[in-house]
Amino acid sequence: MKLWLRQHHQAFQLVIARMWCTRLTTLMMLGVLGVTLSLPAGLYVVLDNLGTLAGSIESDPQISLFLALDANTEVIKDIDKRLHGHHDIKDYRYVSRDAAWNELQHNAGLEDLAGGLEKNPLPDAYIVHAANNDPATVEQLRQELQQWPGVEHAQLDAAWVKRLYSLMQIGRQAVLVLASLLGFALLAIIGNTIRLQILTQREEIEVSQLIGATDAFIRRPFLYAGVLHGVGGGLAAWLILYGALSAFNLSIDELARLYASDFRLHMLNAQACAVLILAAALLGWLGSFWAVSRYLTSIKSSR
């Protein structure tokens, strides 16, 4: 165990020293990896922000049940009873025309509109939440409610939120596709970097093997180099995203102030950051493992 730790410590130190010797090249490399990683991560951040924006709006589809203007208390009682006994309805709320009128008059930006009207044009209404959010079921429910006597109009709200969600679903798939493609690119970039390092250390590998180094010993520093490149690339991607979002937020602040909103783009959360860096580290490990194995096989077969 102690031996194992010592050997890892040794390999790690060696890699750090080598990276320090070629720090400019290493930094360039990390930059390239950072840009590659920042593309899918950036798209993810955009979607995540869109999700937050959409989430702040009521996302459960609800049906607004506008009653006929001449609906009397009898009719309202009847509808209330039918709503109460219905299986597909989770909850419902009665909004009297007076309450709705009151709300309209106090709603930000709409006072002027309400002030221009002489009397209350609003009907009594029910806000109905379906028990099942599946779009087809909700639509069916809407059609059923539309048929009831005393109901003037049943309107399905928040359908656009549904559409936004399905668009975002496509966006998430795009992130996955982009991440897999660029993940492969990352694998190739790191694999190639390590392959070049192997070539510059060919003599050292040969001598080490001649004096009894195991494949694991030869591989170890390169694996560390691969992982460090991955982690460095992940951190670089984080920096790029952070910088870009901070710059965007400067303009968004201004825009949001105009709309009296406090919306800001938020950064990747800790979990997503961890995933980003761990995935990059894993890809780095795989890339270098692949490169070293290929080299070890090639010298074994040439002997």
Partner: protein, 217 residues
């Protein structure tokens, strides 16, 4: 310790480097392998160190058949040997200390213990004051001694040297041979390949004379 039984080595392409070689070297022996260049001296050493595998016969090192070793077992086998190569195979981007420390690192010995052993080995070959120097700044004799320090630093039981006095003048060559005799004195088995018969001088050393891949007596 080392036993060859009817060993042959046929390289791809049809070149037969060794044919029907049988001999035995006991523990603690000092043996010379001599012969003209191309006689198969280097091949013979490579067979001992499991760098090459025989195409006929068996090579036993400490009762282990080198041809039957798995790929994973070969590195551990090689650690029994201290190898001194004809072309030194020093690492020119690392200083003297780091060159000598390499076999220790491979064996998992680092830090203070490694430093102690490296300096002991450098002291033995008289390079203690050069530990920070790069190999390229050393003379031919010093590079050879550095290669010897690297071979002995992990205290192997068998020392194998291929033309250790190859390009050295007489004074240096004697110095190097004296070093080998000193290691022999402390019980290390030593096998030296050389075409320079004048180097084989003192003591009752064992001599294997190779001629076109076969042993001639």
């Amino acid at each position: 310790m080392i036993k060859f039984d009817q060993v042959g080595k046929l390289y791809p392409g049809g070149y037969e480097a060794l044919k029907n070689i049988s001999f035995e070297i006991a523990k603690g022996e000092l043996a010379f392998v001599t012969g003209h260049s191309g006689a198969g001296k280097s091949t013979l050493l490579k067979l001992i160190a499991a760098i090459e595998r025989p195409t006929a016969g068996t090579v036993l090192v400490g009762n282990q058949n080198t041809a039957k070793l798995s790929h994973a077992a070969i590195p551990h086998m090689r650690r029994k040997f201290g190898l001194i190569f004809q072309d030194h195979k020093l690492l020119y981007d690392r200083n003297v200390f780091e060159n000598v420390a390499l076999p220790l690192y491979i064996n998992g010995i680092v830090g203070h213990e490694a430093g102690k052993r490296v300096r002991a080995a450098l002291d033995k070959v008289g390079l203690l004051d050069k530990e920070k120097a790069l190999p390229i700044t050393l003379s031919g004799g010093e590079q050879q001694r550095l290669a010897i320090a690297r071979a002995v630093v992990s205290r192997p039981s068998i020392l194998i040297a291929d033309e250790p006095t190859g390009n050295l003048d007489e004074t240096y060559a004697t110095e190097i041979m004296n070093l080998f005799h000193a290691f022999h004195q402390v019980g290390v088995t030593i096998i030296i390949a050389t075409h320079d018969t004048s180097a084989i001088s003192q003591g009752a050393a064992r001599i294997l004379r190779l001629d076109h891949g076969a042993i001639s007596s």
